[in-house]
């Protein structure tokens, strides 16, 4: 669809930034269009838990004034974005904390503001303290969005913002990205500051962008990546020029496929996922990539090692909240406390040793390949009525596609690669070397330039 024919709320960030830069689109006009879209459909999607309409319009007017004076800050200037509630926003701290205060703007939020983005509000997530209505999947509102960045997935997919921030401890950016047919990037651990992100698990939490196209995710990632002295795990590795670097093709790129691990997960994976991911890998091959089968033996233990670290660190991080959580919290949060309590120090240390072994095996694999390609979900988004309150926890204790890359901290990208028979999105997952987000963005971008999955919009 030509840009001129698209509703404003469905412009990609890349399209909108060009129009804003050329002054053929005003940030105020764009923000109003997104607010109208929210008004029209969020009663069905439940993506926002805190809509900041007045502030957003104020910020959009400020952006318009600044740009009209010739002070265009960059691609995020005047772009309406929203954030998962787990991140602190000035005046709206993360609500999953009970006993600690927010810090004003989280660093990722501050950086988006500095890039000129317009903050639309805060988005729902799984296991909220007061359990508001959970977001619905714009492709079919009888289905879930996937979590825990539930609102972030629904909002981007449904045109309720142009980009969102999510958080991923065991797949929480990639799962809703896959289920909603959008692009999600979990960068390398340490690439994006966790300051102001209410912790689930200090050593596994990753903050990252969710958008409708790979070049959009590159623009957003550019704005939030970089060292932050307020986060002791933040890396000072140089930040690449992501948006420029992705435009190279994939000719000669070596893509590893961990077939033994996919086989391990296959009994719990819907055949349509395996089929569409194979087709996506074949598409990369037809575009010039070389496909190699790789083996990572310890990957089969990585999901449970991730869960052990997750629950143990969750218990430590939320100990002071435990009396409240056990009385009032959502079932998933209560269960995590019990599991964290039952995890002994030897279990935690063994999980860390498995983490170390996995990293070594993957380092060896990455000496021969540029990235990995594998599925990003076990199946299409399930029906809301079929999902139990702690189903996610069952996913965490059997080999699956997300946890291993939180455990190892590697960058991963979720890219839509087709639809199930009942028109629900399916995604490919690309995994890169530490701090080499460029390669997976490049592969994802090239794939999107040659396919149309990301250009389809939900019926809502």
């Amino acid at each position: 669809m030509a840009i001129a024919e698209k509703p404003l709320h469905y412009l990609t960030i890349h399209e909108a930034q060009k129009l804003i830069h050329d002054r053929t689109l005003s940030p105020v006009e764009l923000t109003r269009a997104v607010l109208e879209r929210i008004d029209a459909v969020d009663g069905k999607l439940h993506a926002y838990i805190n809509l900041m309409a007045d502030g957003a319009l104020q910020e959009a007017r400020a952006a318009e004034t600044e740009i009209s004076r010739g002070n265009w800050r960059g691609p995020m200037h005047g772009i309406p974005v929203a954030v998962k509630d787990q991140l602190d926003v000035e005046g709206a701290p993360a609500r999953i904390r009970q006993h600690t205060k927010g810090v004003g703007d989280a660093t990722a939020v501050r950086k988006l503001r500095e890039a000129g983005a317009v903050m639309m509000g805060k988005l729902a997530m799984s296991s909220m303290p007061d359990e508001p209505p959970q977001p619905r999947n714009p492709w079919n509102t009888d289905h879930i969005t996937g979590g825990s960045s539930t609102g972030s997935g629904a909002a981007v997919c449904g045109g309720l913002c142009l980009g969102s921030l999510g958080e991923d401890t065991a797949g929480s950016i990639r799962n809703p990205s896959a289920f909603c047919g959008i692009v999600g990037l979990k960068g390398t651990y340490g690439r994006v500051s966790r300051y102001g992100l209410a912790p689930l698990s200090w050593s596994l939490d990753h903050c990252g962008p969710m958008t409708r196209a790979v070049e959009d995710v590159a623009h957003m990632f550019q704005a939030i990546a970089g060292h932050d002295p307020k986060d002791p795990t933040s890396s000072s590795a140089p930040v690449a020029d992501y948006a420029s670097a992705i435009r190279n093709d994939v000719k000669g790129m070596v893509v590893g496929v961990p077939r033994d691990y996919i086989d391990e997960c296959a009994p719990r994976t819907h055949p349509i996922v395996l089929d569409l991911v194979e087709k996506a890998i074949a598409e990369l091959k037809s575009l010039g990539a070389r496909i190699e089968t790789v083996t990572v033996p310890t990957l089969k233990l990585a999901t449970i090692a991730n869960a052990v670290i997750y629950y143990n660190e969750f218990w430590a991080a939320h100990k002071s909240d435990a009396p409240w959580v056990l009385k009032n919290g959502a079932p998933q949060r209560r269960a995590r406390i019990y599991l964290g309590l039952l995890t002994g120090s030897a279990d935690y240390i063994q999980a860390q040793r498995i983490r170390s072994r996995c990293r070594a095996e993957l380092a060896e694999v990455f000496s021969k390949v540029d990235c990995l390609a594998l599925p990003n979900q076990a199946g299409p988004a399930p029906l809301v009525k079929e999902v139990g309150p702690i189903d996610t926890l069952f996913k965490h204790v059997v080999p699956e596609y997300h946890g291993p890359f939180n455990l190892t901290g590697l960058p991963t990208l979720s890219v839509p690669c087709g639809f199930s028979e009942n028109k629900l999105p399916i995604a490919l997952q690309l995994v890169g070397k530490p701090f080499d987000e460029v390669t997976i963005l490049r592969a994802g971008y090239t794939y999107q330039q040659n396919t149309e999955w990301h250009n389809q919009r939900p019926p809502i």
Partner: protein, 63 residues
């Protein structure tokens, strides 16, 4: 969840001055049982001299 695990969980909760929400131990019995089984699997692998994943960084100054 086996009786030993249930008793251990109750003791751990009591040590922290906590009580399980009514019905939780029954509701979460399956996931807890599965998780405890997985902990055993985790220890069944011989990692030889493998050390800890996270590395202490002397330059870490905190926030």
């Amino acid at each position: 969840m086996d009786k030993l695990t249930e008793n251990a969980l109750k003791a751990l909760l009591a040590r922290e001055g906590l009580e399980p929400k009514e019905g939780d131990l029954e509701q979460f019995a399956e996931i807890i049982g599965l998780y405890m089984g997985n902990l055993k699997t985790l220890h069944s692998v011989d990692l030889g001299p493998e050390e800890l994943g996270p590395v202490f960084r002397p330059e870490w100054t905190g926030k």
